[in-house]
């Protein structure tokens, strides 16, 4: 039997494949062949590279004086008739298959072709996932129809992955935190279909669709698709809204707030809805807005207090516990004292009862006295609810006592609760305690072994398998650095230095390479410190300052020329390491912005042919607000290097301008009233950072961390400089 995957496709077929222009079975055949054939991958690579180079060719400048000539002729009343309609088309149009760019370029990456990976879900924006029924009742079977965008051309079946959450916030039994819940099979009309059944206690589910290898993921542009279990009255169940709220809190504060608002509208009589809303507002607002949110919450609380006092049938989790925490949250001491006493009398071991007792532990200044209290609370709640005992706090308190038995005990509990995911953090803490150093190193080694494989239960829904592999590789490097430091502390110098080398072999983490350089210098290994030190010095953010002192650190035998050579090599290395994360998504040519002084400008005018850093930030989103000082610093560095910077936060009202002035923020803040930039970048919450190249292609992002931005900007600029003719 002929196996198509073994025959080399013709250049014509590879060309059609590059454009996604083959029919689905042929796409699959050629794709399968490319996966195993370096020669054909090289052909595809040449096609891509050539086109990239053609697109990178500089435009010839407009001839001088042309503008004046055109305007003079216009003023003189000259006119030309230009064709505004296409010529008649001969013949009928043929079938068109959408582009499977992601598949093609993933293969290029496998072939080692230095190319940009397009974001795995860039082509999927027109996809649709439909549930029937859309408002399921508990335990219902739900039919799922997926209409793919152009991401999954050629696939016969896809996987539906989900995160199922129960009413109590725990994962559904046996499913882990994320799991494949259905296979979606291609039907005749090109859509994919499947069926899921929500296990009974599940009230909220988030979904993404991916191919069988997890190489391409459609995460609905990181928004995921959602399903909320509904009650008999047709409303989404309150518990479903509560779980959605918790799910969004870690990813998108704006949606979280919107969800809390919806909960109070649908369930105005529920105190837990109002408490949820207040917690969000308190976390988000500052100044007068926060004060008025607290005043509103107090009035609301007083109303519930009046109606709850006489009742003896209050629900512990949904009413009694909530009003107690609500009173504490708005600092109403009298109300809090009254409700706390009632709660602890009636249900001291309930979730909220434990929360109240935990406050006593946290108020305890001496960790030796607090730790036994934490221990008894832990025994009451058990490992499943370990989070409410504040495990990191317990481990910290144990370390502060110096009691190795207590440290080991809480380390074990942390590991069990987080199912080994915390082993890196826990192991690093243990290695700080000489008596537990070996044990800590064992945990670090266990974590390294675990990081070698991708665990689908912990892989976020929106992350592809290759992206997860990269993320795990980055964690492995940090674990290796901790292990190297511990080996060094235990006197195993050679093993330590070998481990530290492995820690900095891939990825881009300027802080990590600096740390490794310092450790090598500490043990007098100057020669070994050169490579990590030069990598640290190549980082555009802090490298310049380091470069000047590096030669002093390395000693006088390392001359200026040799150092320069090293630094050049390190910059090249940085480029290659950073590029692993690069994507390429052309943005629309016309994106309008409003400047702080009210003018309309095009993004490309702001960019003026330079790489551009785009930051979405918010003073109301706690993670974003916490990064504002670092954002200021990074933006200052980027502007000093001549890069363009655009930040978008909120409409430039007089109040917001006052805020910027009062906080002495110099960030260039633009308005996006037409949502052109939003449409182009498709940001997902704040903070969201993006790097555009000089031609307006999105190269990196969304990122929520600023540490790699300077290196990414430098690399994007360097590519432009190095591109043919630039």
């Amino acid at each position: 039997m002929t196996r198509p995957a073994l025959l080399h496709p013709t250049f014509r077929r590879i060309s059609l494949y590059a454009d996604g222009d083959l029919d689905p079975p042929a796409m699959g055949n050629v794709g399968a062949h490319l996966a195993g054939c370096a020669r054909c991958r090289a052909t595809l690579g040449r096609i891509r590279r050539l086109e990239e180079e053609v697109r990178a060719l500089p435009a010839a400048p407009l001839p001088p004086g042309l503008r004046e000539r055109v305007l003079t002729r216009l003023r003189a009343g000259e006119s030309v008739i230009v064709p505004v309609a296409d010529p008649s088309v001969r013949g009928a149009s043929g079938a068109r298959w959408p582009m499977a760019a992601a598949a093609a370029v993933v293969l290029l990456a496998l072939a080692g072709v230095p190319f940009f990976l397009p974001g795995a879900d860039l082509e999927a924006n027109r996809s649709e996932l439909v549930f029937n029924p859309a408002a399921p009742r508990p335990g219902d079977a739900v039919h799922v129809t997926y209409r793919p965008g152009s991401l999954f051309a050629g696939e016969a079946s896809l996987r539906l992955r989900a995160r199922y959450l129960r009413y109590d916030g725990l994962p559904a039994p046996g499913l882990g935190r994320q799991a494949t819940v259905a296979e979606l099979v291609r039907a005749r009309n090109g859509v994919f279909e499947g069926t899921i059944r929500l296990p009974d206690p599940v009230v909220y589910a988030a979904f993404a669709v991916e191919d069988r290898d997890g190489g391409r993921v459609d995460s609905h542009e990181r928004r995921l698709w959602e399903l909320l279990v509904h009650g008999p009255d047709g409303r989404p169940r309150f518990e479903a809204l509560a779980q959605r709220h918790f799910d969004h809190q870690t990813s998108n504060w704006e949606l979280s707030r919107e969800n809390a608002r919806q909960a109070t509208e649908l369930y105005p009589g529920r105190i837990d809805a109002w408490f949820m809303r207040y917690l969000d507002e308190r976390a988000s607002f500052t100044g007068p807005a926060a004060d008025s949110a607290t005043a509103r919450a107090r009035r609301r609380l007083a109303g519930f207090d009046r109606s709850f006092r006489a009742r003896r049938d209050l629900g512990v989790e949904s009413e009694l516990g909530i009003i107690t925490r609500f009173a504490a949250a708005v600092d109403d001491t009298a109300l809090h004292r009254y409700w706390r006493a009632r709660l602890l009398r009636r249900a001291p071991n309930s979730l909220w009862g434990v929360q109240e007792r935990l406050q006593d532990v946290l108020a305890q200044p001496d960790p030796r006295r607090g730790l036994p209290l934490l221990d008894s609370l832990w025994r009451e709640v058990g490992v499943g609810r370990g989070a409410i005992v504040y495990l990191p706090f317990a481990l910290y308190a144990a370390t502060a006592t110096g009691d190795t038995g207590a440290i080991r005990l809480w380390a074990d509990r942390s590991s069990r609760y987080e199912r080994g995911e915390a082993d890196g953090r826990v192991g690093a803490i243990l290695t700080q305690v000489p008596a537990l150093r070996e044990e800590g190193m064992d945990r670090l080694r266990a974590r390294l072994r675990a990081l070698e494989r991708v665990d689908d239960a912990v892989r976020p829904l929106e992350r592809t398998v290759p992206e997860e592999r990269l993320a795990r590789r980055e964690e492995a490097q940090r674990v290796l650095a901790d292990l190297g430091a511990a080996l060094l502390a235990s006197g195993r110098r050679d093993a330590a230095l070998d481990t530290l080398d492995r820690a900095t072999r891939t990825g881009w983490d300027a802080d990590l390479v600096r740390r490794v350089a310092d450790l090598r210098l500490q043990v007098g290994d100057t020669a070994g410190a050169v490579a990590p030190l030069s990598l640290a010095a190549a980082d555009p953010l802090r490298g310049a300052a380091l470069s000047d002192s590096a030669r002093l650190l390395l000693g006088t035998h390392f001359d200026e020329a040799a150092w320069r050579g090293r630094l050049d090599g390190a910059r090249q290395e940085m480029r290659e390491r950073v590029l692993v994360h690069a994507t390429r998504r052309p943005l629309p040519a016309r994106v309008r912005l409003r400047t702080p002084d009210g003018r309309t400008v095009a993004l490309r005018e702001v960019a003026a042919g330079r790489p551009t850093f785009v930051a979405y930030w918010s003073r109301y989103c706690p993670p974003s607000a916490a990064q504002i000082p670092q954002l200021e610093q990074v933006v200052a560095v980027l502007r000093a290097r001549g890069f363009a910077v655009v930040t978008v936060a909120e409409p430039l009202t007089p109040e917001f301008r006052r805020y910027l002035r009062e906080h002495r923020l110099t960030l260039p803040v633009y308005d996006d009233p037409w949502k052109d930039l939003e449409e182009a970048v498709r940001p997902w919450g704040t903070p969201g950072y993006y790097v555009l190249d000089a031609d307006g292609n999105l190269r990196f992002g969304p990122l929520t961390d600023l540490s790699a931005i300077p290196a990414q900007m430098a690399v994007v600029e360097e590519i432009r400089v190095r591109a043919p003719g630039r």
């Binding site: 222009d21 050539l50 064709p83 043929g94």
Partner: protein
């Protein structure tokens, strides 16, 4: 009052004023879009004087042409389409005047797997027959779908696909090492 260059206006406002012949609005449109029009014309025609002619034609024709711009879709994309048609019209006229031949020696060679030299790349593009270069530029550089390329050029989408493949093949051989 017509918007002035120093007070950037929306495309919709500029279209309204430019279609009535406002020099200021036309100047603003020129500032916004002439570079893109010039780049496209230059890529298609590979002739500096002809690309300049296309820019002049497009902007001298705008006041009248804008009346058929319905405001659907982006103005830039619409202007680029007008520019592409104008350039293609010139190309057809040029073809009526002379036949082009391809000479494999028209372009210098560069190593197969190294980034190609910019001059070599431009000469290889210039060496492509017009029919192939047009499809290559519209599809690869401008990002049109084959259906749109076909409509602009007056061919079928199938022909557009075939021409793209031939253009790629020819470019690769023009830039390849000695066979």
């Amino acid at each position: 009052m017509a918007p002035t260059v120093s007070e950037p206006a929306s495309d919709a406002e500029l279209v309204e004023h430019a279609s009535r012949g406002s020099p200021n609005a036309l100047a603003a449109l020129y500032d916004r879009y002439a570079a893109g029009v010039h780049r496209l014309a230059q890529s298609l025609l590979h002739s500096a004087p002809e690309a300049e002619d296309v820019v002049q034609d497009v902007f001298l024709g705008l006041p009248r042409a804008l009346r058929s711009y319905a405001g659907r879709g982006s103005l830039e994309a619409w202007i680029h389409r007008v520019a592409a048609r104008t350039a293609l019209m010139r190309m057809r006229a040029r073809r009526r005047r002379r036949e082009e031949t391809i000479s494999p020696d028209a372009a210098p060679r560069a190593p197969r797997d190294s980034p190609v030299d910019r001059v070599a790349l431009e000469r290889a593009l210039a060496a492509l027959p017009d029919a192939l270069r047009v499809v290559f530029v519209l599809k690869v550089v401008e990002g049109y779908a084959h259906e749109d390329v076909a409509a602009l050029v007056g061919i079928t989408p199938r022909t557009s696909r075939v021409r793209l493949f031939r253009a790629r093949k020819l470019l690769q051989s023009l830039l390849a090492e000695d066979p």
